[in-house]
C-alpha cells in the first residue's frame, strides 16, 4: 500500500497524497497495520481503551517524547545523531526553573523564549563540534550527554518548584476538557516540519546530506551550515520539550530527561528514520509515536505486571522492526 516503488505508470492520487510525507520508502504500512492490531487487541480486553479519557491520557503522556522526536527526526534525516537530547532538555528545564525562582520578576513569556534560546545554544554547541571539527555525532553527543547533565547538577541543591499558573497550564490544559494542548503542539510542529522537509531547500538538502555528504558537497550544498542548523533545531525542540516537561512536573530537577534518548530513538527508528540518514518522514514518526504511547497505555489497561511491560515493549519493537526488515529483504538480503 505504501510501497511507492513506481517504476512504471503514473502515481494514483492517494499515493500522491501519502507521498507528500513519504517520498522515501518507510515502513508506514506495517506500522499502520501494527497499530490497528494493537487497538483491536487492547479494545477487546479493556472496555476503557476506546474511551475519550483514555486517548486523552495517551496523547498527553507522550507530549515530551513527541516534541523530542520531532527535533531528532531532522537531525537523523541529515545523517546526524543526537544522544544528548535528554540532557539538553534536563539542563534547559532546570535553568528555566532556576530563572523563575531567582529572577521572579522576569515575565514567564520571556522565560519561554530563554528556554528556546538555551536549547538552541546547546544544539549549536553540538552542531559546531560535529560540523566544524568533524567529530562523529554519536561520539560528540555521547560526550555532551554527560557534560550537559553534569552541568545541570550544579543546581541540584536548589529545590526549584514552579509557581507560575501559566507555565503549569502549558502542559496540563485541555481544549474543551478533551484535547490536550500538547497534542495540538505536536500536530502543529509535525505538520510544519513535514512541510519544511518537503517544500524547502533546507529540507531537501537535508535528505541529500543524509544520503551522501560528499555528494552534497559536490552539489554545492552548504553542508556545514545545514548540519549545524539541524542540531540547533533539535536543541530548539529540546527547549520546547523542557517547557512542557517542567510544566507537567511542576518543578525543575537536574535528572529530568535522563534515559529519554533511547526512548526517542526507539520512536523515530520505528517510524522509519534510518540511523545512517537520508530516510524518514514525519508521518512515520507520528504513527510510531502513537504506537509507542499506546503500547504503554494498553499494557497498563491489560494489567500486565510492570516489569513484564518492559519486556513486551522491547519485544514489540523488535517484532515491528523485524517485519519491516523482512518486507524489505530483497534489498538487503545479499550478504
Amino acid at each position: 500500500m505504501a510501497n511507492l516503488n513506481v517504476k512504471t505508470g503514473e502515481e494514483k492520487w492517494y499515493k500522491k497524497a501519502i507521498g507528500i510525507f513519504t517520498r522515501s520508502k518507510t515502513p508506514i504500512a506495517s506500522l499502520i497495520i501494527l497499530y490497528i492490531a494493537m487497538v483491536v487487541i487492547f479494545a477487546s480486553f479493556s472496555p476503557y481503551y476506546l474511551t475519550i479519557g483514555n486517548f486523552r491520557s495517551i496523547f498527553n503522556n507522550f507530549a515530551v517524547l513527541g516534541i523530542l522526536s520531532a527535533g531528532i527526526t531532522i537531525v537523523m534525516i541529515g545523517g546526524g545523531f543526537d544522544l544528548s537530547i535528554g540532557s539538553t532538555m534536563g539542563l534547559t528545564g532546570i535553568l528555566c526553573a532556576v530563572i523563575m525562582l531567582k529572577f521572579s520578576f522576569i515575565p514567564v513569556g520571556i522565560v519561554m523564549v530563554i528556554a528556546v534560546i538555551i536549547g538552541c545554544f546547546l544544539g549549536l554547541i553540538n552542531g559546531l563540534i560535529i560540523a566544524k571539527i568533524g567529530i562523529n555525532p554519536i561520539i560528540t553527543t555521547l560526550g555532551t550527554l554527560a557534560i550537559f547533565r553534569g552541568i545541570a547538577f550544579f543546581w541540584a541543591d536548589l529545590n526549584v518548584r514552579i509557581y507560575s499558573d501559566f507555565w503549569d497550564s502549558i502542559g496540563r490544559s485541555f481544549i474543551g476538557g478533551i484535547i490536550p494542548y500538547t497534542t495540538v503542539y505536536i500536530l502543529v510542529i509535525f505538520i510544519i516540519l513535514a512541510l519544511v522537509l518537503k517544500f524547502t531547500k533546507f529540507g531537501r538538502n537535508l535528505y541529500t546530506i543524509g544520503g551522501n555528504e560528499y555528494l552534497a558537497k559536490l552539489a554545492g550544498i552548504k553542508v556545514e551550515r545545514i548540519k549545524i542548523a539541524s542540531y540547533v533545531i533539535s536543541g530548539l525542540f529540546c527547549g520546547l520539550a523542557a517547557i512542557v516537561l517542567t510544566s507537567q512536573l511542576g518543578s525543575g530537577r537536574p535528572e529530568y530527561g535522563s534515559g529519554k534518548e533511547l526512548e526517542v530513538l526507539t520512536v523515530v527508528v520505528l517510524g522509519g528514520v534510518t540511523v545512517g540518514g537520508g530516510k524518514g518522514n514525519y508521518l512515520g514518526t507520528f504513527i510510531a509515536l502513537i504506537i509507542i504511547g499506546s503500547i504503554a497505555n494498553g499494557l497498563v489497561l491489560l494489567d500486565v505486571p510492570v516489569f513484564l511491560r518492559m519486556v513486551i515493549k522491547g519485544g514489540l519493537l523488535v517484532l515491528a522492526i523485524s517485519i519491516d526488515a523482512l518486507r524489505n529483504r530483497r534489498r538487503l538480503q545479499l550478504y
Binding site: K201, L215, A216
Partner: protein
C-alpha cells in the same frame, strides 16, 4: 581582458601533490568558448585531479586559474557551481533512495514565490524534458536504487545539463553507457557547443575523442605532454603521447587452442534472467554483450552465487554443482571481477596485500592464525606477476589508480586458483596502455587453461578479444557469434530483439 577574447578558462602551472604522489606537475591548459577539449591520459595521469582542482574539490598547491580573465580560486564545489562550472564526475554520485527528479535537481531545486517553496511540478516537467532529450525512458519519479548502473549514469548527465553552465566538465561520462546512449549524449554536446558552452571531455575511448572533441590535451604522470588539434592528429600519435611509446596493437589477439567444456549452464532462471543456457570451454574468452539493463550483470551474479537462482543447472568440469553463495563459487574455482570496483570489489581502507588475499584468508597458513610471511610472499608474487604499480604491498588500495585497482581484484582470483574467471567490464575506465596489459593477461590465463567470461559494452573490444560472443536481451540469449562472424551492426540488431 588581456587574453584572447575566445579563451574562457586558463589554468596555468597547476601543481597538486598528495602525500607521496605528485598528481599534477606544472600543468597548463586553456579552453575556448564553445569548444570541446578532450583530455587524454593513462590511469593515474592526473586527469580527474585536474578537473577536481578546477571544480573546487581540491585546493591546488600552486598555479593560477583564470576564468573570463579574472583570477579565481574556488574553495569548495559550491563556489565553482556558482560561477557556472558543472561537472559529471568519474564516480557515480547519485542518491539511492531519492527520486530521479530529486537527483537531477540536487541542491538546486526549482522554487516558486512566495516563500521560496519548492516547485515539484516544474521540476518533474523539466526532468521529463531532459530525459527525453537524452533519449531514455525513465520515469522521473523512480527511486534511484531501482535503476541500473547505466541508467544512473544518464541521470548524472541529466543533472549536469539541467542548469546551463559556462563550462561543462565530463569525466568519462560514457564509461557505463551503451552506443545509443552515447549518441544521444553527443547530440546534446553539439547543441550545447552551439549555444556557446565550453566542454572538457575526458575519456579513454579514442574513438569518442575523435568524434566529439576539437582539441586534445594529453597528460602523462601528472605532466602535460601537449595539446593538439583533433583534426591534425591520429590515434597512433595520441597513444604514443599517452604512453610514451608506440603501442602496436590496440587489441592484441593471440590464438589459444580451445579445449573441452569446463562450464556449462542449462536453463538458468534467476532474478533478471530467463532461461539462459551456454557453455564455456577451456582457453576460451566468451564475450557477453547486451544493452543497458539486459541482464548481463544479473547473469554473472547468478553464476557467482550473488543473485539467487530459481531454476536451472550449472556443471563445472562435467560435475553438477550448486551455487547459492559466493564461497561455493570460489570453492569451485570461479572468480568474479565485479563491475564496480570500489563498491563491490575492494576493501578500500585495507592494503593491497589484504585485498589480494581477501578470497583466500583460510589459506594463509594452517590453523587459526595468519602466517604473515606466507601472506607477504603471496601478495608479492602477484604484485610482480601482474606488474601492479604500488609503492608497497601495505598501501591502501584507495590511493591506487583504477587500472591497478582492477589488477588487485584480478590477482585475488588468480591467487585463489580460479580457472573460470568472470570479468564484468574489465576495462571500464582503464587507459589504453593498461587495457592492452589486461587483454594480454586474459590471454595468458587462457593459455594456462582457464576459461574467461567477459562482459563488455565496448563493441570494438568485444569484437576483437572474445572468441565467441553471446548477445543477451531482456534476460534471454538472443544470439551467438563466433569471432570474426560478428559485426557491430549484427550485435546491435540482436541486442535489440
Amino acid at each position: 581582458m588581456a587574453d584572447n577574447n575566445n579563451v574562457i578558462l586558463k589554468m596555468e602551472n597547476i601543481t597538486k601533490t598528495f602525500p607521496g604522489v605528485v598528481a599534477l606537475n606544472n600543468v597548463s591548459i586553456d579552453l575556448k568558448k564553445g569548444e570541446v577539449l578532450g583530455i587524454l591520459g593513462e590511469n593515474g595521469a592526473g586527469k580527474s585531479t585536474l578537473i577536481k582542482v578546477l571544480a573546487g574539490n581540491y585546493i591546488k598547491d600552486s598555479g593560477k586559474i583564470t576564468i573570463d580573465g579574472n583570477e579565481t580560486e574556488f574553495k569548495n564545489p559550491g563556489e565553482a557551481m556558482e560561477s557556472g562550472i558543472r561537472v559529471i564526475y568519474q564516480e557515480l554520485n547519485t542518491l539511492e533512495n531519492l527520486s530521479v527528479t530529486e537527483n537531477i535537481f540536487l541542491g538546486e531545486q526549482e522554487t516558486k514565490t512566495p516563500l521560496n517553496i519548492i516547485d515539484w511540478k516544474k521540476m518533474e516537467k523539466e526532468s521529463r524534458k531532459i530525459l527525453k532529450q537524452l533519449n531514455i525512458d525513465i520515469n522521473p519519479n523512480t527511486i534511484m536504487e531501482d535503476l541500473s548502473v547505466s541508467e544512473k549514469q544518464v541521470v548524472e548527465i541529466a543533472k549536469a545539463i539541467s542548469k546551463k553552465g559556462k563550462i561543462l566538465i565530463m569525466d568519462e561520462p560514457t564509461a557505463a553507457l551503451s552506443e545509443e546512449d552515447k549518441d544521444s549524449l553527443f547530440e546534446i554536446i553539439k547543441t550545447l557547443k552551439e549555444a556557446g558552452v565550453s566542454i572538457i571531455y575526458i575519456s579513454h575511448r579514442l574513438k569518442e575523442i575523435f568524434e566529439i572533441t576539437d582539441r586534445v590535451t594529453v597528460l602523462r604522470d601528472g605532466k602535460k605532454i601537449g595539446t593538439v588539434g583533433t583534426s591534425e592528429t591520429d590515434s597512433n600519435q595520441l597513444v604514443t603521447m599517452m604512453v610514451g611509446r608506440d603501442i602496436q596493437e590496440m587489441y592484441p589477439k593471440r590464438e589459444v587452442p580451445i579445449g573441452e567444456v569446463i562450464m556449462s549452464v542449462k536453463n538458468l532462471v534467476a532474478e533478471g534472467i530467463e532461461d539462459v543456457s551456454f557453455e564455456l570451454r577451456k582457453g576460451e574468452i566468451l564475450g557477453i554483450f547486451g544493452l543497458l539493463g539486459s541482464g548481463k550483470t544479473s547473469l554473472v551474479k547468478s553464476l557467482f552465487g550473488a543473485n539467487p537462482i530459481k531454476s536451472g543447472k550449472i556443471y563445472v568440469y562435467g560435475k553438477k554443482i550448486t551455487i547459492k553463495k559466493p564461497w561455493q563459487a570460489r570453492d569451485n574455482k570461479i572468480g568474479l571481477v565485479p563491475v564496480d570496483r570500489k563498491l563491490d570489489g575492494l576493501a578500500l581502507m585495507l592494503g593491497v596485500k589484504e585485498n589480494i588475499t581477501l578470497a583466500n584468508i583460510q589459506q594463509l597458513g594452517k590453523g587459526f592464525l595468519i602466517k604473515k610471511a606466507v601472506e607477504r610472499e603471496k601478495a608479492q608474487r602477484w604484485i610482480d606477476n601482474l606488474d601492479i604499480n604500488t609503492p608497497s604491498m601495505n598501501q591502501e588500495v584507495n590511493s591506487l589508480s583504477g587500472g591497478n585497482q582492477q589488477k588487485v581484484v584480478l590477482a585475488r582470483w588468480l591467487e585463489s586458483g580460479s580457472n573460470i574467471i568472470i570479468l564484468n567490464e574489465p576495462t571500464r575506465g582503464i587507459d589504453v596502455g593498461t587495457k592492452v596489459e589486461i587483454y594480454k593477461l586474459m590471454q595468458n590465463l587462457c593459455e594456462q587453461g582457464a576459461g574467461i567470461i567477459m562482459i563488455s559494452s565496448e563493441l570494438p573490444e568485444i569484437l576483437s578479444i572474445a572468441d565467441r560472443i553471446l548477445v543477451i536481451s531482456k534476460g534471454r540469449i538472443t544470439g551467438e557469434f563466433k569471432r570474426g562472424k560478428a559485426s557491430e551492426e549484427k550485435l546491435m540488431q540482436t541486442a535489440c530483439i
